[in-house]
Amino acid sequence: MAQKSQEPVIGDGSLHIGDRVVYPNQGICRITGVTVKNISGQNWEVVTLSREEDGATVMVPKAKVMGIGLRKVADIGAIDKVFDELANPSVDPQLDWKIRHRENADRMSGGGLFGTVEVLKGLHALSRVRPLPPKERELYDSARHLLVGEIAAAMDIPLHVAEDNLDYALWPPEGMKRKGKVLPAATLGPPTPMRAVGDEDDLGFEDEEGEEAAPAPAAAPAPAGDEAEEAEEEEEAPAPRPAPAKKAAPPPAAAKKEKEKEKPRAAPKKPAAAAKKAPAKKAAHAKKPAAKAKGKKK
């Protein structure tokens, strides 16, 4: 059914079997071969890749290899430029969510190294202004994951060291330098409304505190669909600052009621989930701090 060809030309000829490549949105993969697969009665020549992270096999039709943005892992020169870019603090976050969403989606699907850097940097800058909505938080994490993987692969360093270095650039510790220039030390992010004002702006921490008492697996934050999220965003995007001020007028309790009215589908789910799972976890907690000292390790 499947047969291996001898000297396959992959893409534009720059890729070879055994090469480490970056698959957009998937991460670092290794080209394991070119085979012919019979799919729906048709023979397709596919390039098989093995994702390094978990060994998953990815198959790409050979004719589409270049079209999907498959590329070799960046070289050290490119990684150096990435860190120059990350250490350059001047970024104004794009506040219009529509433009931001379109740009970020294009960058991620393009699979370019600097596209991923821009997504990470843009969302990082935005996170310094206000908390990211759930989908952008996920995008931020994916961009970070891809970038850390590529830095580690390109420089042959552990993932942990790669991520620490990435954050030495994004959140410079005291005295951190980049090419002889001292970077401004990271400052604490803007105080979150929850701490400063009360509970007007729900960041999800309220849920967590509830769960802390009854540590149930994450009562999903308002299962906000695209529409709800977009509506929320549209409210915030034109004027991110004044929004809390408007809401701050009624007393906290009244504001909460108003919120519940606004999200009728989401509200009832949280307490239900917490109530269900609370007893089991509580019971497990009682036995936990078992301190049995076994034999000595060397």
Partner: protein, 178 residues
Amino acid sequence: MIRIVTLSEFPPDVIDFVSRRLHAAYGMGCELEGEGEMPKAAMDDEQSGWSAPKVVEEMDDDVTLYADDKILYLTAEPLVAPPGPMGTGPVDGFAQYGGGKAVATAHGLGEKGSLPLDQGLAKRAAHYVGHLWDLHHCFDPRCAMHPGWSPGFAQYPEVALCLFCREKSERKIKLGSS
């Protein structure tokens, strides 16, 4: 199960505090597995500290790890890491991403401007266990996955994960359960 192995002496109440906080953060059992010594081969060439990746690599233990078992080594010694593209920076631990072993140090805790020993160690422990579950650094200063050198880490002593990190860790823990 999160298994703690101490490589330095810690008061029992500190270890108890750390295991309780780890349990609360990840919903997993956490116990003191035993004591050990820093492997001599992990001493950094410049003798300025212990190479964190080597400590994890060189530790020769006989603990059998199942799919959802994680080992956390706790030490009070200063740790260093190999230089990366930004040079060297503060290091308070090391974890094998998505792997089974991590090390966290209590070095520097209890000093002026930093968290007290128990809270600081618990927060660092939660941070490195998070990396074992594939969590990345988080921008939320209240989250345990916030970088340890950032001012937010000392500003918020509570050992808690933000909603995103908590959900992600729960997904990973479910997938990894043996």
